[in-house]
Amino acid sequence: MAHVTFASVTEGQELPTFQRTTDFMHWNRYAAVNDEFVQLHMDDEAGKKVGQKGAFGMGNLQVAYLHNLLRQWVGDDCWIKKFRCELRGMNFKGDTLTAKGKVLKKYEQGGERLVDLELWTENQTGQKLCPGSATVVLFQ
């Protein structure tokens, strides 16, 4: 079941947010599935050595959260056609990450109903950590 239909989408509309307060419980699970064992994501001392306040989360986990944001909006039908992002900031233990999105444009092209979106993650201070954009296909 789709949560949205092409007809219901309006340009400028904001997506329901996807939010997580992250720490080692999230990062260790992501390290396990992504086979990504890096001291900077596992050890506060390693983070401090490179001038950060401690260990920080994986950039690719923020990428996954932005995918989750789109899937949460569209539902099981969700198909992301294009995705782009830049990692600008880090998330530390206990930070609340919020993935947000906004509809830029909806249009039909090549027989597909498409929606362009602006996406980003931000922390609890409103600092944008991972800005990007996506195009999703809506089948309904």
Binding site: V33, D35, N60, A64, H67, F83, C85
Partner: protein, 163 residues
């Protein structure tokens, strides 16, 4: 006193790599468990959507079965471990320090349990810019993932910034 500035980081060796495909890898077949575990990790602590773990539910969707989260990395846990990873600090010398300049993905066919995914990569583009950190070299690597039927699954372009 002025420090001697490098005019370019683009060596003949780097130029020679542009457009040349490098040997890729083939992942082990995707298992339903790989999909379920990935989904649990990226949705933690909430339950992930049923499309990623409930075959009965997934059958009733437009995908007619379980699919993998589109961002799932299938090249994990090789028995032969990669020898070295690029380090962000490089050697500390200008031109060897690395920043992640962002990623761009295009998705084509969905990944399903049983699929065998192969990759092919090449250095697609190299250019330089002056920035606040001095001279910066951008290397764009294009990686294509295909499945066992030769269908394109994903094209990614990742940018590394050397400064």
């Amino acid at each position: 006193m002025t420090q001697e500035k490098p005019k370019t980081y683009i060596t003949p060796e780097i130029k020679a790599r542009i457009g040349v495909e490098v040997p890729g890898q083939t992942a082990a077949p995707i298992d339903e468990s790989d999909i379920r575990k990935w989904a649990i990790a990226v949705y933690w602590p909430e339950q992930p959507p049923r499309i990623f773990w409930d075959a009965e539910h997934a059958k009733k969707t437009r995908w007619k079965g379980i699919i993998a989260p589109q961002e799932m990395n299938v090249f994990t846990w090789p028995a032969e471990r990669p020898k070295q990873r690029l380090s962000a600090a490089g050697t500390g010398q200008p031109g060897t320090r690395i920043l992640n300049g962002g990623s761009e993905f295009e998705y084509f066919a969905p990944m399903r349990p049983g699929d065998v995914i192969s990759s092919k990569s090449k250095l697609a583009e190299v250019f330089e810019r002056e920035g606040r950190m001095g001279l910066m070299m951008f290397q764009v690597t294009q990686t294509d993932l295909t499945n066992q039927r030769g269908e394109l699954v994903k094209r990614s372009k990742t940018t590394l910034i050397f400064y």
